[in-house]
Amino acid sequence: MCLAVPGRVVAWINRHPLFAMAEVEFEGLRRPCHMACVPEALLGQYVIVHAGVAISIVDEAAAHKTLQELRACGEDPAVEAGGVPVDGVGHFSPLPDPAR
């Protein structure tokens, strides 16, 4: 696998394309993570970190939608939507920065 964990971007340290770094918080713990793969990440956004490198920005809208659909299915077992074919997958758009 690849153990990768979501953490919240709390401060940018460096914006150099190759040496980009930000402080990322995992529960009570902060660690500087390399941001070369997600230079567009904003403060307050969650990034998925693997081996010290952020490899994606969590799509909050997609996460919200997934959970909502799952919970809706629980309330009404008749609603059993199939999966979303790839062409239906929404693309990520940056979220407003809650830290500002």
Binding site: M1, F19, V58
Partner: protein, 378 residues
């Protein structure tokens, strides 16, 4: 933790299990190709929960396990050279090569250190200009951007004392080998969520079309896994085969393009050997010629002589292809345990045999004895 805890909700998991139970008209055989998923499935008992509904075969999902013994031996030999520090991830240190593991090499006096990130190895090289720091780079596509970044940073910093021993592998070619086996029982694949986070999922389109198998990009938490399994079952019941992304919060269709560019700059695709599976065409990466000076094997020039694949009684290939279930192996739990592994799937905690050994021995609750032969639907 946000974006983790929500997907460990027992109520949501229960509801997905029920949904799978209601819809599965027969027993389906799925394969996950990610050690993290294997770990999570067994840890949370999802395999037991779905017993009789879905058979989960554990593919060659652990990059640590499939790292050729020869490369571990090389790393151990490097660690014995004066002035050389060998670094790698914690789980890599325990894995035995033919002669020893890196932890044993450390006990024998070698300078072996664990790092959380390849970039930490670069920092180490910066702090110790008098030593040569070698990073044993293992991992699937997920980890390659980190290694590539390390090589690029070291180059930019003018560090001549940072070297890489590359053992990175690519998942899709291994899936091709498995799906292409004439006796393959796999009816659908759970694609590895973090590999796809980097590589995207459009790369699976042609695979899916050619093999007519559902491919569902799946995350790692119980609810993620069950959602992926549910989507496989739904497609199988409907006679469909699409690529579906069930890990949308992390995976985009085209993956992480910045990460792919990093890989592209440093590495080219190559035929490489997988421990237990043999050589897989396009199954891994090699440093591009312009970074050849970073290759740690240069340090071993005279000592480096490729030798034949390890002799073993381990039917690793059968296991990794999903044709032999770990508990059915004659060596499992007897002569082959995590302490004395005979082959690839037992060597690291994420290997499918090791995971089985750890979790599946529980069987605390008496399982219903199935009346039919397990094999008749596979």
């Amino acid at each position: 933790m946000k974006h983790l805890d929500e997907y460990r909700d027992p109520a949501l998991a229960r509801q997905l299990v029920d949904r799978i139970r209601r819809h599965a008209s027969r027993r389906w055989t799925l394969m996950e190709v990610c050690g993290g998923q294997t770990h999570s499935l067994l840890r949370h008992g999802i395999d037991q929960e779905l017993d009789g509904l879905v058979d989960l075969l554990h593919g060659p999902g652990c990059p640590v396990c499939v790292t050729p013994a020869e490369q571990i031996d090389q790393a151990c030999r490097l660690a014995q050279l004066p002035g050389v520090v060998v670094t790698s991830f914690g789980d890599m240190l325990r894995v035995p090569g033919r002669h020893s593991s890196l932890l044993q090499a450390r006990r024998a006096g070698g300078d072996v250190r664990l790092v959380y990130s390849p970039l930490d190895a670069v920092k180490l090289a910066q702090r110790h200009p008098d030593r040569v720091v070698v990073f044993l780079a293992v991992g699937f596509e997920t980890t390659v951007p980190a290694t590539a970044l390390a090589v690029l940073q070291a180059t930019e910093l003018g560090l001549t004392n940072f070297r890489i021993l590359t053992a990175h592998v690519r998942v899709l070619p291994a899936m091709e080998v498995i799906a292409g086996e004439p006796t393959s029982q796999v009816q659908a694949f759970l694609a590895a969520g973090h590999v796809c986070t980097v590589a995207g999922h459009q790369v699976y389109d042609s695979f899916c079309e050619r093999h007519r198998l559902p491919v569902v990009v799946t995350g790692f938490e119980p609810v993620d896994l069950l959602e992926g399994i549910w989507e496989c079952v739904r497609q199988l019941e409907a006679g469909e085969s699409h690529v579906v992304n069930a890990y949308q919060r992390s995976v985009r269709e085209t993956g992480n393009e910045s990460g792919q560019r990093l890989i592209e700059r440093v590495y080219s695709v190559a035929d490489v050997s997988w421990r237990g599976l043999g050589t897989i065409p396009d199954g891994g990466y090699q440093l591009r010629p312009e970074f050849a000076r970073c290759d740690a094997r240069l340090l071993l020039q005279e000592a480096f002589a490729p030798s034949a694949d390890e002799p073993t009684v381990c039917p690793a290939r059968e296991v990794l292809l999903g044709r032999l279930r770990p508990p059915d192996c004659p060596h499992f739990g007897g002569s082959c345990t995590p302490e004395t592994p005979l082959g690839a799937p037992m060597v690291s905690g994420e290997g499918c045999c090791a995971a089985h050994y750890r979790y599946a021995r529980s069987a605390l609750e008496p399982r219903e004895t199935s009346t039919g032969d397990d094999c008749d639907v596979k």
